[in-house]
């Protein structure tokens, strides 16, 4: 999962800060529960659980990140 984020195009990477949570740790478990996630892997964007139990495709993930970035910058 983390790798699929790392290989995103640089222009997409530049739109975001990425934080990876380790589910083996109590901190990671707490974040998982805060997001009300149920399964792994999970991806949250702007504290919102967007993808769960799947690894999103590059295009899909890039499009969603870009959409959110443009929406925030419009405001």
């Amino acid at each position: 999962m983390a790798e699929s984020v790392r290989v995103l195009p640089q222009n997409i990477q530049n739109m975001m800060d990425v934080r990876e949570w380790d589910m083996r740790t109590r901190e990671g478990i707490q974040r998982f529960r805060e997001l009300r996630a149920k399964s792994l892997p999970s991806v949250a964007l702007d504290n919102e659980l967007v993808y769960e139990a799947i690894i999103p495709g590059q295009e899909d993930l890039s499009a969603e990140i870009r959409r959110r970035y443009e929406e925030k910058n419009r405001e």
């Binding site: 380790d22 589910m23 083996r24 740790t25 109590r26 478990i29 707490q30 998982f32 529960r33 996630a37 149920k38 399964s39 792994l40 139990a53």
Partner: protein
């Protein structure tokens, strides 16, 4: 010398069999003579040495002899020397006892709460079954006048018992207000009991522990052996109160070291399977409906678990 790590030194020639100590920033932050000796003097020495630089402490400990050409101060000197030169390694955050004998049947006893009568009846009932060994997951003690008698009885039984959260509080001298006090001997008995049992049943590795207090122990690492299992049970599933996270639990099971995970904090019986792992919550030994214990076995293919009930 590792910082803020707990060291356990096995002594030679003196009354207390173990010395436990911690060092941080070159200071002796904790020292405890465990399992024997003069408890009053030992506690005084612990108080006096706490917070002192290790080098200075070692100077104070020199050339003191009691018997067997050594003394408690001399043993502490040796312990600190070995920690400093790397011959003594830090202890894990929680104590693990490994039952190395492969088992086919295990009796499980939950919270006793200081009920000696309950333990006696269960031991007798279990002895009539074809059980190889008994595990008690705690708490052993409770709001009971019989705590001491129970611990004394338990010492004579072939029951492997781990500390529950109240047991641990007693061992630390921090039991809740209003609970009956215990002698230092009984506190040391509890202190020396492990926090987690590791065992083999029918070719599968298992662990038995009480619950989440292990996570509150200083030095608990999320990467210690069996910490993952503890975290999954305690933090992720909240002792299986939250079944919505089972898919995530199942995804983590392949990283487990244990395939059988026993715990007793919820004080109710339960059995769940996620992937290759079996999770069993061990209920209290005595309820309004009577006394009960768990029979855990294996038939070479899958594990078998049954709640055994005695009528009052």
């Amino acid at each position: 010398m590792s910082e803020n790590e707990r060291y356990i030194y096995r002594t030679h020639g003196v009354c207390p069999p173990e010395i436990h100590f911690q060092v941080q920033d070159g200071l002796l932050t904790e020292v405890r003579f465990v399992g024997g000796g003069c408890p009053g003097n030992a506690r005084l020495v612990s108080r006096l040495l706490k917070g002192l630089p290790v080098e200075g402490v070692m100077e104070l400990l020199r050339d003191i002899e009691c018997r067997n050409e050594t003394s408690c101060p001399d043993q502490l000197f040796k312990a600190l020397s070995e920690a400093r030169n790397g011959a003594l390694h830090p202890a894990h955050s929680f104590d693990v006892y490994e039952d190395s004998q492969p088992r086919k049947s295990i009796a499980l006893i939950g919270e006793l709460g200081g009920r000696l009568d309950v333990l006696q009846r269960l031991v007798e009932a279990i002895s009539r079954e074809n059980v190889e060994i008994s595990f008690c997951l705690g708490n052993l003690t409770g709001h009971s006048p019989a705590n001491k008698d129970l611990l004394e009885f338990l010492r004579k039984q072939s029951v492997l018992a781990v500390q529950g959260d109240l047991d641990w509080s007693y061992s630390q001298g921090t039991e809740p207000a209003g609970f009956p006090s215990l002698d230092q001997k009984e506190r040391d008995d509890l202190f020396l009991r492990p926090h987690l049992l590791s065992f083999q049943l029918d070719g599968k590795k298992g662990i038995a522990f009480f619950g989440e207090y292990l996570q509150r122990m200083s030095g608990f690492s999320d990467f210690d052996p069996f910490a993952l299992e503890i975290n999954m049970v305690s933090s992720l599933t909240q002792f299986f109160k939250d079944e919505t996270v089972f898919p995530a639990l199942e995804a983590m099971v392949p990283q487990f070291q244990a395939q059988i995970i026993l715990f007793s904090q919820p004080k109710e019986w339960g059995h769940w399977q996620a992937g290759e792992a079996n999770f069993i919550s061990v209920g209290p030994a005595a309820t309004a409906r009577g006394l009960n214990w768990g029979l855990l076995g294996g038939n070479g293919e899958k594990i078998h678990f049954e709640i055994m009930q005695l009528q009052d």
